[in-house]
């Protein structure tokens, strides 16, 4: 863990490792690390252990999404957590203390901008992925979970509700009745159950998570058409899913 923390504050050395095929890295973020390798961009989110989404995170994320949205050189983006977990979601006490419609709308805007990107966005989810973090994953084009992942929108357990588009997207994926039950009960689900409810596209062994995400990123045709999402899932993820079953 100390190593990870050092890596964040010392992002330059981590990103500047010479790699075959050329590596580009952007720096100055404390809650994100972004680097591209062979045209695949890797976005590592948060600060361990829980990678909470703080106000600073959202600020940096918004900055990042604006900076990459016009990058014609990218082939795909993979979002993953820093360390064991994807992210435990928003930092509630900070959020409640600094709440405004404008800041929430801005968070929404940057998630939507991610969703509208021309290149495929893949969330590689290990460990915990809850609340706003799962909303971020829902705005991705593909969700691949390691078998130890736990996902959900537990906001109602804190007398709140999902606030960044998670409700609508969960309804689309899992159907109105399932989504309603999960959200009202504030349920969290293991990866396989989430897969059965169509909320994640593949469940894979933990140690293969990043490889499978990368394989998908490389395999997807260019230009990418999100309308064919289901076809790509069948073609590139189905086999992995069956291995898991």
């Amino acid at each position: 863990m100390t190593e990870n923390v050092l890596e964040i504050f010392n992002g330059k050395s981590a990103g500047a490792k010479p790699q075959a095929g050329g590596v580009a890295a952007s720096h100055g973020y404390q809650t994100l690390r972004w680097h591209t390798e062979n045209r695949v961009g890797w976005l590592r989110i948060g600060q361990p252990p829980s990678n909470q989404m703080t106000i600073q995170f959202f600020r940096e994320f918004s900055d990042w999404v604006d900076s990459v949205s016009d990058d014609a050189g990218l082939k795909a983006i993979i979002i993953h957590g820093n360390g064991r977990h994807f992210s435990s979601g928003a930092d509630l006490s900070e959020l409640l203390a600094n709440l405004s419609n404008e800041s929430m709308l801005e968070n929404y805007r940057c998630f939507q901008k991610l969703e509208k990107m021309n290149v495929p966005v893949i969330s590689a989810i290990g460990g915990v992925c809850l609340g706003s973090a799962f909303e971020l994953a829902l705005f991705s084009h593909f969700r691949i979970c390691s078998d130890d992942a736990v996902i959900g929108l537990p906001e109602t357990s804190f007398n709140l509700m999902p606030g960044i588009g998670g409700i609508g997207r969960m309804v689309t994926l899992a159907g109105k009745a399932r989504a309603l039950e999960l959200i009202l009960r504030g349920m969290t689900l293991p990866a396989t159950e989430a897969g059965n409810l169509n909320m994640v596209d593949a469940v894979v062994p933990k140690r293969e998570l990043k490889d499978i995400a990368l394989t998908l990123a490389i395999s997807l045709p260019e230009p990418f058409h999100v309308e064919f999402r289901q076809v790509y899932i069948e073609k590139y993820l189905r086999r992995k899913k069956q291995v898991q079953d």
Binding site: L95, L96, N101, T156, N159, L160, M161, P162, V171, L180
Partner: protein, 265 residues
């Protein structure tokens, strides 16, 4: 307990229970099986957290009173008028800001299935039977089933059910997405109440109503509009929760301060 014509209403643990009660078949006298103003009056209660619609006795409902339909069909405008009212009633139920469960034991045909489809959840007992038999009388579902069923079960399965008039078992209905939960034999009502309480018991009314409103928005409105609405709803809940936490903090400070002051002095 409140009484309407062939329908009763009561409240159990903040859950409204609407019972179709003309046993054993619970035939529906009219498409508008309860006058909408009466239902609105019964539901005009800010503490309500959910609604369950069930049938009295063994069955949910065998559907509309077809004799009456054919009589009305002879009168110009008569039938269309009652059908429109039926539509309005089901639309009202579908758009409610509390969750609505249809608790389906045994028979759920025609108009009964139309009511169930307007609910947010369908819980069916394992011995439930669902069908749109209208086609057997050269009719068709007339209260929204032709668009509500495809929305959850797809065009193919819907066409099979509606054109075939086939009776579908609970298990089969679960497979095609028409039913969300299967309850033990004849236990749809008990199962539904338990499910409803699991979803609502620990939730403040406002959280439930805000989530339901957001879901409604996500279905009715464009994404941008739904987003703005959701942010507003979220911020309202967050403001409440923020205030609640502050009060809690203040109370803790008030109760602990005197002691610590004494210590410090």
């Amino acid at each position: 307990m409140y009484y309407g014509k062939n329908v009763t209403f009561e409240i159990i643990e903040s859950i409204g229970i609407l019972t179709l009660s003309d046993p054993p078949e619970n035939y529906l006298p009219l498409p508008e099986f309860i006058p909408l103003p009466l239902l609105q009056d019964w539901l005009n209660n800010e503490t309500l957290k959910g609604l369950i619609i069930r049938g009295e006795g063994r069955n949910f409902s065998a559907g509309g009173d077809l004799g009456k339909i054919f009589t009305l069909a002879g009168q110009p405008a008569g039938l269309e008028d009652v059908m429109v009212k039926g539509h309005e009633l089901l639309r009202y139920i579908e758009l409610m800001d509390i969750p609505v469960i249809a608790a389906i034991n045994r028979v759920c045909f025609g108009g009964g299935l139309e009511i169930a489809l307007a609910c947010h959840f369908r819980v069916a007992s394992e011995n439930a039977l669902l069908a749109f038999p209208e086609v057997n009388l050269n009719l068709m579902p007339g209260m929204g089933g032709t668009y509500r069923l495809p929305a959850i079960a797809g065009t193919f399965q819907s066409a099979r059910m509606i054109l075939g008039g086939d009776i579908v078992s609970a298990a089969r209905a679960r497979e095609i997405g028409l039913v969300d939960h299967i309850a033990p034999k004849d236990k749809a009502w008990e199962y539904s109440l338990e499910l409803m309480l699991k979803m609502t018991r620990e939730r403040p009314v406002k959280v439930i109503r805000h989530v339901m409103t957001a879901i409604r928005n996500s279905i009715l409105l464009g994404r941008e509009e739904a987003a703005a609405g959701e942010v507003r709803l979220f911020c309202e809940l967050a403001a409440d929760e923020s205030a609640r936490r502050k009060t809690e903090e203040n109370n803790t400070v008030l109760t602990t301060n005197p002691a610590s002051n004494i210590g410090n002095d």
